[in-house]
């Protein structure tokens, strides 16, 4: 009944005009509001599932009864009304009121009418609150509270024995009272304790004793949170009869269980729980307790960071890192305890599990690998959110060292588990942790890795040995990488394996092992399947591709470098493809969800590949390839226009359209001006422009790279010169050319020979006088060149048709065997390295550098998803 009662009460107080007449003073109104909200709180606590609307409705119907019942309520309020005027009498009045309520409660309680008790108790609380507002909490109230609590506990325990005794209303009332008491008890904890110590003394003690003012009202949600928490805590404490020492080794499991149960629920105060657990950890005595507490504590800490995009607070991360390390230490010193994913939960809180005869281990459920992974992810997340140009970032980055240690310890731990085959440690966990380790190593220079490794080994006890990477045997980073990757190649599959491969290629490329990296890239066949991998892996693939391209550039392999970088840099979306920044979408089609995902994918700054350097390399390579090509096609405009890099062409055109060109400011300007100089045959100027680009300093061996570049510019300059000016010469002395381009005679004649041999230049060498003789009359008429184009197109058409047919029939129609070679290679080839040689060049045959390229950033996948 209490429910209807109160809801009626609510609605009438809200809406009735009578009331407004009654309480005209503002003060009262405030008071009432307070009441209301309090009532509402109680309401919610009592029965959340009950719908607000229905209760209102019912309240409306029952208004008659409500009004009647309300009378007594409002009376009390009316008496409050008088209070401020005559303080003394009012106080007495209030106390009298209080006493009478307590009386009623006692009576009701005796006949077990908890529904009524609940109503009365509400009144009591209101009354008490009013009194305490004026100074202190009435002792009577405390006494009533304690007595009621005792009675309640008694009833509850009775009820447990005979469950059928209570009717629904009473049960609900009892429940409500229980909840309220718990809440109040927190507020008046000290007084309650004092009363329990010595009831008489408490009551008799000085009236002036300062009672703590009741807590100011909190927001609704907070109150609830507290309550829930108190729920559990209170349960434990009450049982022990209100002892001040809450945490004993015996009670640890109870606390833990309570915390575990509240996990994931709304409005759980995690920070509070963590504090409790920290205390629990201090009192934990046995390894089992320690492990249990640590496991729960670490996951609770991770819960802190799980909401939204915010990363885990720094101090909690550090604490978690420490706790995981402690966990490893505990586990290492107590070998009989193991934490393993597939263990069964131990349900008995009273006694810890003991070693069963015939069993080797005490298994505790938990997953170390996911803790380690989580710790890693949290660090990445926090690095993502910190501005990389601040010292904070660097400070945060130093934590990577300790994180690496944790990963390493985790790996050691799993290795020890894996040694015992009876445990059936899933290979997957081991793979995951090895992968994590690899991911912290692969993008770093060898020296850094070495330091990292040394630090990782330091805290490890001397008797612990790693089977995958034995102590001391892995001296340099290259072999470490090799060992880790090989381990993953052998033991894993799918994405982890692909990632391991990419990591190794990245590392090789970073350390100037171009051919090895390229061969691995080709042999991995990843470019065919990468589209089906997840975005993270695709990003890694793009990064690797770029790194291989940069490596080729450092080796002076301009053609290969350009080819490799083409897909990524030519797209103009480097940032996105490498996950180093979000592109501003011109047409805002991305949902916030997508944007959030994109942000999550971003790499922390220290892993970035310098985009400006990348652009610089790409443009320089494009220049070296495009300028001679432009010169070649420029002299005979009807040759099919072949474009190597559209991006570069566009920039060049834009640059040429400019009316006034100032001195170069950025990298792009430098390259563009160098291009123009090169096109005009002024190779020295071009070299100067290129050399004055500052960003080369970021490359190791800057000088070597500059020499390589000037050599390339000289050669390409010569070629460009010959293409551009050939029509204006009859003969040209080799020696003139060699002095013009400061190249050896031999080199010049080699270049000219090459051009003649490839039929790029209509000329011949005269050995006797060492001159180049240009042939005349090779220019084609319009009709002739068109005829050539037509024949080319026809040939292409046939070729395409054949290929299509072959694809359709999957090469079963052996119609083209007679043509030999060319086409067969395109379609078939069951060989090991089809990516190499044959297939790549298949069909075209004319491509000069043949077979050594691979292209394809994973454009679509990485961008769209």
């Amino acid at each position: 009944m209490s429910r209807f009662f109160r809801s009626g009460d609510d609605s009438s107080s809200e809406s009735s005009s009578e009331e407004e007449e009654l309480y005209s003073e503002e003060e009262e109104e405030e008071e009432e509001q307070e009441e209301e909200s309090e009532e509402e709180d109680d309401d919610d606590d009592e029965d959340e599932s009950e719908e607000e609307s229905s209760s209102d409705e019912e309240g409306g119907k029952k208004s008659g009864a409500a009004r009647f019942l309300r009378g007594d309520d409002s009376e009390s309020e009316e008496s409050d009304d008088d209070a401020p005027k005559t303080l003394k009498s009012a106080k007495d009045k209030q106390f009298a009121e209080l006493e009478s309520i307590i009386d009623t409660i006692e009576k009701r309680q005796k006949i077990n009418d908890w529904g009524a008790v609940s109503v009365e108790f509400d009144k009591l609380n209101r009354q008490a609150a009013k009194i305490s507002e004026r100074g202190r909490t009435p002792k009577l109230y405390i006494k009533a509270l304690v007595e009621l609590e005792d009675a309640m506990n008694e009833t509850i325990s009775k009820q447990k024995v005979t469950p059928k005794k209570m009717n629904a209303t009473s049960a609900r009332g009892l429940n409500a009272v229980k909840q309220k008491i718990k809440k109040l008890k927190q507020d008046y904890q000290s007084q309650v304790d004092a009363y329990r110590e010595d009831p008489l003394d408490f009551l008799a003690s000085d009236e002036e004793e300062e009672a703590p003012a009741p807590k100011p009202k909190k927001a609704k949600a907070d109150v609830y949170a507290d309550q829930v928490e108190e729920d559990q805590e209170g349960f434990a404490t009450v049982g022990k009869g209100g002892k001040t020492l809450q945490f004993t080794p015996e009670s640890i499991f109870k606390h833990l269980r309570a915390i575990l149960e509240s996990r994931g629920k709304k409005n759980t105060d995690r920070v509070e729980q963590i504090k409790i657990m920290e205390k629990l950890l201090e009192v934990a005595a046995t390894p089992y307790q320690q492990i249990k507490v640590l496991l729960t504590l670490v996951s609770a800490r991770f819960d802190l960071g799980s909401g939204g995009t915010a990363s885990m607070p720094l101090e909690h991360w550090k604490a978690a890192e420490k706790e995981i390390s402690t966990l490893f230490e505990v586990l290492e010193s107590n070998r009989e305890y193991i934490v393993i994913e597939n263990a069964e939960e131990w349900d008995d809180d009273e006694k810890p599990p003991t070693l069963q005869p015939g069993e080797k281990y005490i298994k505790i459920p938990g997953s170390i690998v996911s803790y380690v992974e989580r710790l890693d992810d949290e660090l990445t997340r926090s690095l993502q959110s910190i501005d990389p140009h601040t010292s904070e970032y660097i400070e945060r980055l130093t934590d990577e060292g300790s994180l690496y240690n944790v990963i390493f310890r985790g790996l050691l731990y799993y290795e020890t588990l894996a040694k015992d085959t009876s445990l059936q440690t899933p290979q997957d966990s081991l793979n995951r942790i090895v992968m994590r380790r690899l991911e912290h190593v692969y993008f770093k220079p060898a020296q850094v890795v070495k330091i990292l490794e040394e630090n990782a080994w330091k805290p490890v006890p001397a008797d612990v040995e790693s089977t995958i990477t034995p102590r001391g045997s892995i001296s340099d980073a290259t072999s470490l990488l090799n060992v880790l990757c090989n381990y993953l190649f052998v033991n894993s599959e799918g994405i982890i394996r692909a990632r391991a491969m990419l990591c190794q290629i990245y590392f090789l490329a970073l350390h100037d092992e171009y051919y090895k990296a390229r061969d691995m890239m080709l042999m991995s066949h990843l470019q065919e399947t990468i589209g089906s991998f997840d975005v993270q892996t695709q990003i890694l693939y793009n990064r690797t591709l770029v790194q291989v391209g940069l490596c080729a550039f450092r080796k002076g392999l301009v053609y290969e470098a350009q080819n490799t970088l083409q897909e990524i840099c030519g797209s103009g979306r480097q940032k996105e493809l490498l996950a180093q920044g979000v592109m501003i979408q011109r047409y805002a089609q991305v949902s916030p969800e997508q944007e959030r995902l994109e942000k999550q994918r971003q790499l922390p700054f220290h892993m970035h590949i310098n985009l400006e350097l990348l652009e610089c390399v790409y443009l320089t390579c494009s220049m070296l390839l495009e300028i001679p090509l432009l010169a070649q096609t420029g002299s005979s405009p009807d040759i099919k226009k072949r474009v190597i890099s559209k991006t570069y062409r566009r920039m060049l055109e834009y640059h040429e359209r400019q009316i006034f060109t100032g001195p170069p400011e950025n990298t792009r300007d430098h390259v563009m001006q160098a291009s123009r100089a090169l096109a005009a045959g002024e190779w020295k100027k071009a070299t100067n422009f290129i050399h004055s680009i500052k960003i080369w300093d970021l490359m190791p061996n800057t000088e070597e790279i500059k020499t390589m570049l000037s050599k390339q510019i000289q050669e390409e300059g010569l070629r460009t010169y010959l293409f551009t000016y050939a029509p204006y010469y009859d003969t040209l002395a080799i020696s003139t050319l060699s002095s013009m381009f400061e190249l050896e005679d031999r080199k010049v004649s080699a270049i000219v020979s090459k051009m003649i041999s490839h039929e790029e230049l209509a000329a011949a060498l005269d050995q006797v006088t060492s001159t180049v003789i240009f042939r005349k009359g090779v220019e084609l008429s319009r009709l002739q060149s068109l005829a050539l184009t037509l024949s080319d197109k026809a040939a292409q058409l046939i070729e395409t048709n054949e290929r299509t047919l072959e694809q359709r029939t999957q090469g079963t129609a052996n119609a083209f065997d007679r043509r030999g070679g060319q086409n067969q290679r395109g379609g078939r080839g069951a060989g090991q390295r089809t990516g190499r040689g044959g297939t790549r060049t298949g069909g075209t045959g004319q491509r000069q550098a043949g077979g050594t390229q691979f292209t394809g950033g994973v454009l679509s996948g990485a961008v769209r998803t």
Binding site: A764, D792, T809, G838
Partner: protein, 430 residues
């Protein structure tokens, strides 16, 4: 020259019986006045190589030679006895089957179906599967004794009857080796094709095994490649097929030397120059690709001539390559042909680029005397119908490079079009 010696690399991919001729050749290569130590080292290598085989007499002699004894040690006598007794044992166990297979009426009844054959022999003549397997063991034993012809016969007979795929594959390899060792080149190429088929069909889902078996096959194929001209074309085609080129690039780039040499020396033999040009183009491409992994004077020659267009370097590499060829078991017989063909290539490419050449200079480039050089050029002009004239007074050759006519180009490009379209439409219609 030692750095270019491929023997250690080759040995790993050859059967011990096949290595023996190589060692023998190495022994023959030693200069007359070589010290005993070197001779002894090779003898020791031979001994180590063959000591697990059943060629007891020979091994015994080697041992005696090694230790300076007159007589082979006594243990070899025992071994010999054992081998002979086993031989007899095998002969006995297989005699019936061998007899049967020798009889006209039995062989006449055999069909192409192996299972049916076995059934037939079982029903009619009481042949068991054990007897068939005994054939295999006996063949193996004979091979081990160095009795290759007999081994080949036995393995052939075994293969006709057996249905055990693994053993058949092994028998095919065995027969391949036997054919090589009995210098029956045609037979060996036949076997080679069988092995190749086997690799392609049986192992298609095991890339690693495919790779290693192909590597073996390539190495073994060197024997017929350089010893028999008739098989050369098919073998070169095999080497240039994508699967095998990939194998060479992946696991044994040193084969490029042999491949290059084979291509270059094939110049005069090639039936049509188109194929030769194509092979040359392929080999240039591969040499370029693999330059970072493998290079020796032979490949460097190709590189200098066709990639760098450095004729001086090409000349230098040619003389180095000649030396190498003369000390290589497979190539020593082709050294002269190689040098000749290489000179042709140099002059061809030289003439293509130059309009006027000093005869003296060219002769030097080719490593010839002046008169010899002149003769060479005259021959060249005659053979290859280069449009060139010798200006005797100036001592030069004047080349005339007519620009290729545009019309000719158009005709060239569209020539095959009709035929190809026909083939295409035929294929679609099917």
């Amino acid at each position: 020259m030692a750095e270019y010696d491929l023997l250690p690399k080759l040995i790993g991919h050859l059967d011990r019986h096949l290595v023996f001729p190589l060692l023998e050749f190495a022994a023959g290569q030693l200069p007359e006045d070589a010290d005993d130590a070197a001779v002894l080292a090779i003898t020791k290598a031979k001994y180590e190589l063959l000591k697990t085989t059943n060629m007891t007499d020979f091994v015994g002699n080697l041992k005696a030679e090694l230790e300076g004894l007159d007589q082979p040690p006594a243990e070899f006598n025992d071994k010999r006895q054992k081998v002979i007794s086993r031989l007899e044992q095998f002969e006995e166990s297989t005699s019936k089957l061998v007899d049967l297979l020798g009889r006209e009426d039995v062989v006449g009844n055999l069909r192409s179906d192996k299972v049916a054959n076995l059934e037939f022999l079982k029903n009619e003549h009481g042949v068991t599967i054990e007897m068939v397997n005994a054939l295999y063991d006996f063949g193996n034993f004979q091979y081990s004794c160095g009795n290759y012809a007999a081994a080949a016969d036995l393995l052939y007979q075994f293969r006709v009857l057996s249905t055990d795929n693994d053993k058949v594959a092994a028998a095919t390899w065995g027969k391949f080796a036997s054919e090589i060792l009995t210098t029956n080149w045609e037979g060996s190429v036949e076997e080679l094709n069988k092995v190749k088929e086997n690799i392609d069909t049986k192992l298609f889902n095991n890339p690693l095994a495919q790779l290693s078996q192909r590597t073996w096959l390539i190495h073994w194929a060197l024997f017929p490649l350089f010893n028999d001209d008739r098989t050369r074309d098919t073998l070169l085609d095999l080497f240039f097929s994508p699967a095998y080129i990939n194998t060479i690039q992946t696991s044994c780039p040193w084969i490029l030397r042999y491949l290059t040499a084979a291509v270059i020396t094939g110049r005069s033999r090639a039936r049509n120059s188109g194929q030769y040009q194509k092979q040359l183009k392929d080999i240039i491409r591969i040499v370029k690709q693999e330059a970072y992994e493998y290079s020796d004077p032979v490949t460097d020659f190709v590189r200098a001539l066709y990639i760098d267009f450095d004729f001086e370097e090409a000349q230098r590499q040619l003389s180095l390559a000649e030396e190498i060829l003369r000390s290589d078991f497979f190539l020593f017989s082709t050294a002269d042909v190689f040098v000749d063909a290489a000179r042709h290539l140099i002059s061809e490419s030289y003439c293509k680029i130059h309009a006027r050449i000093d005869i003296k200079d060219l002769s030097a480039r080719l490593g010839l005397g002046e008169d010899e050089g002149e003769k060479w050029i005259v021959n060249l002009i005659r053979d290859t119908r280069v449009d060139a004239k010798i200006d005797y007074k100036e001592g030069t050759v004047v080349m005339n490079h007519p620009p290729s006519s545009v019309y000719q180009q158009v005709i060239e490009r569209t020539k095959g079009g009709f035929f190809r379209t026909q083939v295409l439409s035929a294929a679609v219609a099917r």
